[in-house]
Amino acid sequence: MENLIGGFITVFQPATLAYCFIGVFLGTVVGILPGLGPLTTIALLLPITYKMDVTSALIMLSGIYYGVAYGGTVTSVLMRIPGEASSVVTCLDGYEMARKGRAGAALGIAAFGSFFAGTVGVLAISYLSPPLSRWVLAFGPAEYSMVMLAGIALVTYFTNGSKLKALLMAAFGLLLGTVGSDPQTGSARLTFGVFHLIGGIDLVPLAIGLFGISEVLSMALTKPEKMKVLPPPSTLLGFLPNREEARRSVAPVVRGTVMGFLVGLIPGGGAVLATFISYATERKLSKHPEEFGKGAVEGLAGPEAANNAGTAGAFVPLLCMGVPANAITALLLGAFMIHGVAPGPTIMERQPEIFWGIVASMYVGNIMLLVLNLPLIGLFVRVLDVPRAWLASIILMVCLVGVYSTNSAPMDVLLAVMFGVTGYVLRRFGYDLGIVILAYVLGGIFERSVRRALAISDGDLAIFVSTPLSMAFAAITVVLVIIAFIPRRKAVSAAMKPAVSEAGP
């Protein structure tokens, strides 16, 4: 409790509070803009945080992540366009409620549900993290290697597309992390004679290229269209649900919060999966399943809560184990490392002000988001009016600033553009680039753990299955990899597509 109070003292410093606000504000805007996701934004802003105080920088970047969950709701409800993947389910019933003249109630339920779930999620982080960290401290290098391997396997398992391609991207992500000087011996490897690569491939050019530049290229091929937006309520009272709507949303919000948090803890789970599971559960439990897709309050309230709780849940493995649950938390892990902070079981002892500062900032950020979202929705929707010509030019310039400033090297700009073009091609042919970032960030830690374990065992691979824990994680990995080789029926996407089409045009 004392630590949490210390965290609040950190957050209530004027500068930190301002950065927390900037983070959640940007997160909301990014969540509203289709295409420009949290990964791109965090990648773009990462270099700008170099000169910032480490706690403020990490609070701002975290704020972007959980702010996106709020912002994505707005376009889902008012336009049936998910600003973010985790808002896809909200389109189904949220937009239908808006079409029936209940846009305000839909946004209100989503905002209050998200606030509740976000706050409960942060409370759970506060109470779960200390015991979890103590448990993780007992891990040896073999256990840690297997945890990371299982984490990568889980992320590839939960990818929407080909598991084989996901595994291939994981292998390339890990390989990209090995380019440059070997951290143990200092000798250069996989540089292909390019002097600049001796220092390795930096996270910023890689992330900005794969997400920022590839997104700009994708934007260039899209026909610019004026989007149709249903009007949001003009007064704050218009956001309040009626008694019946409020009654129907309570239980789904509670269920969505619990489910979302638990799914968020699983690597690869995260907010997207949480929303789909919550939607399916609410539909199953409902006495009127026929209303789903036609404006059912439960179909909006549950997934919205699950979305925010899932986002909070994903912070637990990141902060306590140093293992990211998805690509966004992987990028956050990269940000931590760039700022010289190593998240993991020891962070609470070594840098408690950072850990508890981030946790406390989530409480404050959730309140900010609630206050921001309802009165400013009209303003946020206008962000969608920014024409592509301006947006693309600005994004490219921010890319240039971000990439160049990493090492003051034009070579990094070239690398970012190369990754951007490659990223566009890979995305076009169904490769999940989030896994590349996740594997890249984990690569260094994973390699160190594997080599340490092998050094201890003198090359005996049995060390990786020498304890029940490492054996369990090894078994999970093997099962998931075997599943990847089984020819796939498009079960998940097929199940979701009719649901999405049910909402109608």
């Binding site: 170099y50 000169k51 929407n160 597309g161 080909s162 084989l164 391609k165 291939l168 292998a171 390339f172 390989l175 090995t178 070997d182 143990q184 011996t185 000798s187 490897r189 996989l190 590839s214 700009v216 290229l217 994708s218 934007m219 260039a220 091929l221 899209t222 026909k223 024409p387 010509a389 301006w390 693309a392 030019s393 490219l396 310039m397 890319c399 240039l400 600033v401 160049y404 400033s405 034009p410 700009v413 070239l414 553009v417 951007g420 073009v421 091609v425 995305r427 076009r428 042919f429 169904g430 490769y431 999940d432 390699e447 594997v450 080599r451 340490r452 092998l454 050094a455 090359g459 996407s493």
Partner: protein, 177 residues
């Protein structure tokens, strides 16, 4: 036989994996104190080769196979497709590629201000067809905000060219630096 873009992509990944494997082979696999520099890249590139071959085999064979017969992810549907774009969009796409090339060249030789001006003009005027007045106002604003906001206020390192040095000299002469 004509090869689909999906297969070309898989082949590209296979070649990258083979090149990496070839480089990793020359690295020591084991040293006196345990695993060497090369063991991790060697194993990984071996895995990448095997997976690339599998993807190459399982990838659809023709460019026009019906949707749903391949393994493309939802992300492949989220990204705009070159082969389905009209001539106008393709033209815009090509100009954006040119803008990226100019971005690289500019960061090497021209400095931030000139690069920002050129890239913004290429995108706004030539790709998007925005009028000259709006284009020039935006280009100058982007260049100055970038240089003054990031370079001067936030002290972020930016590519330096004659225009950047001239602006800095101007600020220095005005007592602002």
């Amino acid at each position: 036989m004509m090869m689909s873009g999906a297969r070309w992509t898989a082949l590209g990944l296979l070649l990258a994996a083979v090149a990496t494997f070839w480089q990793a082979q020359s690295l020591p696999r084991w040293s006196f104190d345990g695993p060497g520099t090369g063991i991790f890249p060697l194993v990984l590139s071996g895995i990448a080769i095997a997976l690339s071959v599998l993807v190459l085999i399982t990838e659809r064979r023709t460019p026009d196979a019906p949707a749903g017969t391949d393994d493309s992810t939802d992300d492949s549907e989220a990204v705009a497709r070159y082969d389905k774009a009209g001539p106008v969009e393709r033209r815009v796409f090509h100009i954006y590629l040119l803008a990226l090339a100019l971005l690289v060249a500019g960061s090497w030789w021209a400095g931030f201000i000139v690069t920002a001006l050129v890239v913004t003009i290429v995108i706004m005027r030539f790709a998007e067809g925005v009028g000259w007045r709006s284009t020039l106002i935006t280009a100058v604003t982007v260049a100055l905000v970038g240089q003054l906001g990031f370079g001067w206020l936030l002290q972020v390192s930016l590519p330096e060219g004659p225009a950047d040095r001239a602006l800095r000299d101007l600020l220095r002469a005005g007592g602002l630096l």
